[in-house]
């Protein structure tokens, strides 16, 4: 079921590679709050009600698959099938969850995955959302061999 052979360090929306590499990819940025909690994405205030005091680059960590699915009825501009997963990072003892596309449907709950950068996760011009209103790059999750 693995239908997207990932580039070693990065990939594009169609899996063909984009030229962006892990070295020049942006950070997979989560926010750290005064009480030690970390969230992805960042929020103006964290679970404790305080503003963020720093960031964590989740691309430096691996994560465990909490759950996953393969969606076969995808909206305009989204790859089909679309493998997606909720994963949990352990950042020095602090759990941080994230969601995103998986590079393959050949994964299972409990598997270890690593983030891999993708410069365009879906076609910004195909859906209902205003393209300029948000970013369209991000990180997929790839099983750790």
């Amino acid at each position: 079921m693995s239908d997207e052979p990932a580039d070693e360090r990065s990939e594009s929306a169609n899996g063909a590679g984009s030229g962006a590499t892990r070295d020049d990819a942006p950070a997979f940025e989560a926010a750290r709050y005064p009480d030690g909690s970390i969230t992805y994405p960042a929020h103006p205030t964290g679970p404790g009600g305080d503003e963020p005091v720093g960031t964590v680059d989740l691309s430096e960590y691996t994560a465990e698959v909490v759950t996953w699915t393969t969606s076969t009825a995808t909206p305009p501009g989204v790859r089909e099938p679309n493998h997606v997963a909720i994963v949990e990072f352990d950042v020095d003892g602090e759990p941080v969850r994230a969601i995103g596309q998986a590079t393959t449907g050949d994964i299972d709950i409990g598997d270890e995955v690593e983030p891999v950068y993708c410069d365009q996760l879906r076609d910004p011009d195909a859906g209902i959302r205003e393209p300029a209103s948000q970013e369209w790059d991000g990180f997929r999750f790839r099983p750790v061999e």
Binding site: T67, S71, P75, N82
Partner: protein, 385 residues
Amino acid sequence: MEDVAIIGASMTQFGQRDAWIRELLAEAGQACLDDAGVSADAVEHLYVSNMASGEFEGQTGVPNALAHDLQAVPAYTARIDQTSSSGGAGIYAAWQSVASGASDMTLLVGGEKMTHKSTAESTDVIASLTHPVEYKHGLTLPSFAGLTARLYLDTYDAPRESLGKVAVKNHKNGVDNPHAQFRKEVDLDTVLDSPIVADPLRLYDFCPITDGSAALMFCPASVAEEYADEYVRVSGIGGATDTHVVHERSDPTTMRGVVESSDRAYEMAGLSPDDVDVAELHDMFTILEFLQFEDLGFAEKGEGWKAIEEGRTERDGDLPINTSGGLKSKGHPLGASGVAQAYEIVQQLRGDAGKRQVDADVGLACNVGGFGNCVTTAIFEEVNA
């Protein structure tokens, strides 16, 4: 605070309709005025539950349009958008308007026109409620259902077949609902062999895309007796939210908005889950019937799937769930669904449910927006004046 009564209820045929949003709303609104025996000029507040008439049809300003179409001008109007729970939120707003004394006659009409768009386009309109970090990955409401169903089945060792049995039950109930989009039974093999949509969920685990409208008339209980010998009282209502970003929930199989909103509704009503005789749950996906069944207090966490296996939620079970056919069979016109849930409970409590009739004095409706992002739970009781 005024005791609030419902003295009129209506719903249109759900399904693929030629009518557009204004016509659908007017159809249900006029039918509700007729059912209540209330003239349009007596309506003081008029609320319209609708998620996306602008996005679907390019028609905005629907509350004012409806006020004019019903000749309810100069009633105060507002549009209530809480995505899939717009109907429940409309019930909350209508209840507030009467309970506070701001209105002595409030008409709530929920509706959506969707079927002229493709499934992919409709899915995208609904998915536009997601956070940017979810939207850019192509997350949709069905994919959240797949993610949650897999975790639920794995965590609680529940059989995949139990989800299929929810679809079978609700389709069976829908056969006897003349307003339902699908009035056709399906067997378990058909459900389990249908195409995968969001693994492990298949086509028959999902509700359809639907056009339709439903309406309710609210007034003070002290006024209700002028219109009807029997009416329905809103004995408890609660609304609550959960995180916008779904993956930030510590337990994705618990819908905190359902827990919080039902706690408030039970407390207001002075009732417990054991007092509920019949309920309409938001089965946009089969897995949601299990999650709400548990989070409303009808079963322990992880035990909800056993209710369908034991037949408890069948029409002849001890707690019938979705006698209307649910969103699964009846259809899910976003803004109308929460109102139509209450319509079914009103029919059951008034003894007007026909072949679907069960023995019930207390009914509950739970309307879920997003993937549990916003929830309204309402409890209704029969009153004989």
